[in-house]
């Protein structure tokens, strides 16, 4: 038995890195400390895709890695509008090869941000993002606002490690000297802990942000008695708390990115943060979901100039979410081939896009079987990043942390699979060029 410390969790955007596990006979046998229950279950492992496989006559037939990679390369090299999607549950080293592959075959490369915090990215492109690292929040924040986010359920360690409950330099007494405001359409588990809970009407976040901004700038007289289901009195109280805080932070989640004004809700949330910043220190941060969705956004940005929904069909990058995002492309039936890595559109995409996927060649690279496997034509199993393979990831506050390898594996890492596909694609193109 070996004890491994400082293990980094490859589950959610919290990327907890102080986990201790026990490894015996090349298996993680115990998670001793640091992980939440969901993180623990990922570390302990579950069912795997056993073998590379190619679909023949409707059913998947096991094959070698070589054959699956070759088949994948043939499909991709022949495509006129291929989509390469996923990327947020693997490491940056693999993401880099993915961008190179997209460039080589003139693909659209998109990542799961386009169905989670893509709206936040669009908002940042409009107004920027006054933010900080999570340690700043831990050490300084005396006012924490969760807006459309329910960390008690979705990011179980978030409050304990970084925000409301954590203890830091100026916050040595934990939540005792902090205030918690929760804004949501329903009374969530997080809302039950709050000092102030603003229950907002579905889809009316935008109005509430504008009202707060007007109040923060001193124009409360124009604001009506009720905005988006919230009373003016409660809004005034919220504004008072924001102004009086020494260090405030808004964490927002998908409850606000996907309803009503969607990405413009976030534009407005950020503008509210800026308005508060005229009084005191105020920050805002998206609650990123997958452990490396921030990372693929980073890699894609430094390599192509843009974080997601990048169309490389003309040999250079063109960026337009809503046009080049995966679900839009599929609903519009634009793609003729799709490769999915470390993601499960079969479970998460709208039915219309799945119907199109059923008709076109689909390649899947993943450690785990999921609904996408049901219609994939080439399935390539991969090592699990953070357990069987190491590599770089970015936490939700864009802090880079290196995933550790805990056990050995026979499975190929994502990076190697992609490099081999890229090599095969280049060989095919060279042959065609002759």
């Amino acid at each position: 038995m070996v004890e491994i410390t400082d293990v980094v969790c490859s589950l959610c955007g919290c990327v907890c890195d102080d986990i201790v596990v026990e490894v015996e006979d090349n298996n993680v046998t115990k998670v001793k400390k640091g992980a939440c229950s969901v993180g623990k279950s990922k570390l302990m492992g579950h069912g795997r895709i056993e073998s590379p496989a190619i679909r023949e006559n409707g059913s998947l037939k096991d094959c070698s890695y070589d054959d699956a990679i070759k088949k994948a390369a043939e499909i991709l090299a022949a495509a006129r509008r291929p989509l390469l999607y996923g990327w947020s549950s693997t490491v940056c080293e693999a993401d880099k090869v993915g961008v190179e592959l997209a460039e080589e075959i003139g693909a659209v490369i998109d990542n799961t941000a386009s169905v989670c915090h893509g709206p936040s990215v669009l908002a940042i492109q409009d107004v920027g993002l006054p933010s900080c690292t999570l340690g700043e929040v831990k050490n300084r924040a005396d006012l924490v606002i969760y807006w459309g986010a329910n960390p008690a359920a979705a990011h179980a360690n978030h409050m304990k490690r970084y925000s409301y409950i954590s203890k830091g330099y100026w916050t040595a007494e934990g939540k005792k000297n902090k205030k918690l405001i929760v804004v949501d359409v329903r009374r969530t588990a997080t809302a039950k802990m709050a000092d102030v809970f603003l229950q907002i009407e579905q889809g009316k976040d935008y109005l509430v942000f504008s009202a707060l901004r007007a109040m923060l700038y001193g124009y409360e007289d124009v604001v009506p008695e009720v905005v988006g289901g919230v009373s003016k009195k409660d809004l005034l109280e919220t504004v008072r708390m924001m102004k009086e805080a020494k260090f405030g932070i808004i964490f927002f989640g998908m409850g606000v990115t996907h309803t009503g004004a969607r990405h413009n809700n976030i534009v407005n949330a950020i503008q509210t943060t800026r308005a508060a910043h005229t009084h005191t220190k105020f920050n805002i941060m998206p609650m990123r979901g997958h452990y490396n969705v921030a990372g693929i956004n980073q890699v894609c940005t430094w390599e192509t100039g843009y974080p997601f929904a990048v169309d490389l069909s003309r040999g250079y990058a063109w960026y337009n979410p809503g046009e080049h995002s995966a679900t839009d492309l599929l609903i519009r039936r634009e793609c003729d081939v799709a490769l999915f890595i470390a993601s499960d559109p079969g479970a998460h995409f709208p039915g219309e896009s799945i119907r199109h996927l059923a008709k076109i060649p689909v390649i899947q690279i993943d450690p785990f079987p999921n609904p996408t496997t049901e219609f994939a034509d080439v399935v390539i199993p991969a090592a699990i990043s953070g357990i069987e393979a190491e590599g770089n990831v970015y936490r939700m506050d864009n802090i880079p942390i290196r995933l550790r390898k805990l056990v050995d594996t026979e499975y190929m890492a994502d990076e190697e699979i992609l490099e081999r596909i890229l090599g095969e694609v280049r060989a095919i193109k060279e042959k065609e060029g002759e």
């Binding site: 940042i124 933010s131 690292t133 300084r140 980073q298 063109w318």
Partner: protein, 563 residues
């Protein structure tokens, strides 16, 4: 296989070796300059200007804030689009180009080394990940070590040796090159939305920025560091800041450097040479700064010269970016980094029709023209803060042509004639001086001349720029064009640019310094440091240092403790 190259009959400017416009052959074997070659490939450089590969002492090309700049400016991305080629990856961006474009465009200007000027230690992995994706250029990065709680605590307690031990650990942990200072104390204050002037107390830490600068300079000079502290002082960009600037220079006057180099490199000095009390009576004080630099040997500077047009400003100086955003109302990103530093980013348009911008534009050039000894200054635009690096050839042509400066001034705001000195300066740079401020000085100031950079002496790296330019050429437009796209750029003996096109894109090397510190001292420092990780950092001590995997092409420089 022995690879040999002969560059024949070029007019060579190699100021480190005292070669000033001599017709001379350059021989390269296996990537290094040698006395002679036997069976070389030959490049005919007859009548053309030949210089060592350019060395940029200060630019923001990789890391968290550069990428935040790219991410929030898709409108900048659309400006520099070029499709992939057999050699090149797809390119995008103007003021914040993607990593690939960054490498290609520098190489096309004849540059082969760039210093990334600000690496937040906690995010050092990010800087290195991007650097790996910048083709061709050799590189290094300067970690920010001035607003760090550890630094301020040791400065307060006066434990210079422990501060040195901390510096050593930090430079090693980040695979960095030296000690970067950005608005010392002010960036920590910004975590509470405040700022610090040079002698203000930093909130809660009870030290002043002046004490931090002095402490860091003393601690840095405990080692044989190739480069001095690299300082972006307090009050950057504020009218009337020139006195803060010279007071900051004074802080390190008595400190003895380990070798023949300054004890402070003061960066993007244009932004620190301002007179007046408000933007209304804003004026150039380049003369006062130049006067100081002329009379003293302990300070070197780089220009931070303005390129007119749209750009993306970015710095660890969070409060400065906030002030700028308040002026423009444009988008603004801020990212404070726990226990260490911060950063701010906002787009900015320098317009020749605006009085303040016109004066800023003049100041950068005034510094270059009023400082007598070109070995004291390097050409930079603090890319992309005062403008993107691809504007360097514009500055070169301005410095070489009084006529071009006069013609430009005519189209600009009349404030240039009233509140700047530039129109009255007649000096023109020659090619030797240009070679000094674009390669020689930077290489020497960074200590890289001892590692083969910035010159063409025997043993130097085979990094050569051949410009399609006759030494007699005086026409500014032709000079600018020649410096934008080389005839040839040769990197480590390999032709990487030919006729302005990138023809090869090998990976560059990452230079990093290993300061060597007494074990007992390190152990004592470590008890304090581990306490910080235990209680205040959000990552663990063991997950903090940059792993070797992030620096695939390392070049280590050891910096022993000075006896």
């Amino acid at each position: 296989m022995v690879e040999e190259l002969l560059i024949r009959n070029g007019v060579v400017y190699d100021p480190i070796n005292g070669v000033n416009g001599e017709k001379k052959d350059i021989c390269i074997r296996d990537g290094k300059v040698v006395e002679e070659v036997r069976n070389p490939k030959v490049i005919d450089a007859e009548g053309r200007v030949v210089m060592p590969g350019g060395v940029d002492i200060h630019a923001h090309i990789a890391g968290g804030k550069v990428n935040a700049g790219r991410l929030f400016r898709p409108e900048d991305g659309r400006k520099g689009r070029e499709a992939k080629t057999k050699v090149c990856r797809a390119q995008s961006g103007y003021s914040v180009p993607n990593t690939f474009a960054t490498g290609y465009r520098y190489a096309k200007m004849g540059y082969t080394f760039v210093m990334e000027a600000a690496m937040p230690p906690l995010a050092a992995r990010h800087t290195h990940e991007e650097i790996v994706d910048i083709p061709i250029l050799d590189n290094a990065a300067l970690p920010l070590i001035d607003n760090n709680w550890m630094t301020m605590e040791y400065v307060k307690s006066g434990d210079t040796d422990l501060l040195a031990a901390y510096i050593a650990w930090m430079v090693k942990a980040t695979k960095g090159y030296g000690v970067k200072v950005v608005n010392p104390g002010g960036t920590e204050a910004w975590a509470w939305a405040k700022n610090c002037d040079l002698n203000d107390a930093v909130p809660y830490f009870d030290v002043t920025p002046a004490e931090i600068v002095k402490g860091l300079a003393e601690a840095t000079e405990k080692f044989e560091m190739p480069h001095s502290i690299h300082v972006h002082g307090n009050m950057l960009g504020h009218p009337g800041n020139y006195e803060v600037t010279t007071s900051t220079y004074d802080l390190v006057k008595g400190i003895k450097p380990y070798r023949d180099r300054p004890t402070m490199h003061a960066t993007h000095t244009q932004f620190h040479s301002y007179g007046g009390t408000t933007w209304a009576d804003f004026e150039s004080k380049a003369g006062a700064i130049a006067d100081y630099v002329n009379k003293n040997e302990h300070v070197s500077i780089d220009l931070g010269s303005v390129i007119l047009g749209d750009t993306t400003t970015m710095t660890a100086d969070g409060p400065m970016e906030y002030s700028l955003y308040q002026i423009t109302g444009r988008k603004w990103t801020n990212h404070d980094v726990e226990l260490e530093t911060g950063s701010g980013i906002t787009p900015f348009l320098y317009s020749g029709k605006v009085s303040v911008h016109t004066i800023q534009w003049a100041i950068g050039q005034e510094l270059a023209l009023l400082i007598k000894d070109p070995w004291k200054l390097a050409l930079t635009t603090d890319h992309p803060n005062a403008g993107p690096f691809i504007g360097y050839p514009i500055i070169i042509s301005m410095l070489m042509s009084k006529r071009r400066r006069d013609e430009s001034a005519e189209d600009m705001h009349s404030a240039i004639y009233k509140r700047a000195e530039l129109p009255s300066i007649d000096r023109e740079y020659d090619l030797n001086e240009i070679a000094i401020i674009t390669r020689g000085m930077a290489a020497k100031t960074l200590g890289l001349h001892e590692h083969g950079k910035g010159h063409l002496g025997v043993g130097a790296d085979g990094d050569v720029a051949i410009y399609d330019l006759s030494p007699e050429e005086r026409e500014a437009g032709k000079i600018q064009k020649a410096f934008l796209n080389t005839k040839y750029t040769i990197k480590g003996g390999e032709v990487v640019v030919k006729d302005g096109e990138v023809v090869a894109a090998p990976a560059g090397k990452t230079y990093f310094v290993t300061p060597e510190c007494d074990e007992k001292l390190t152990e004592e420092m470590m008890t304090h440091l581990k306490d910080k990780f235990e209680h205040y950092y959000s990552v663990t001590f063991n997950n903090y240092p940059v792993q070797d995997a992030y620096v695939p092409n390392p070049y280590e420089i050891k910096a022993p403790w000075r006896s």
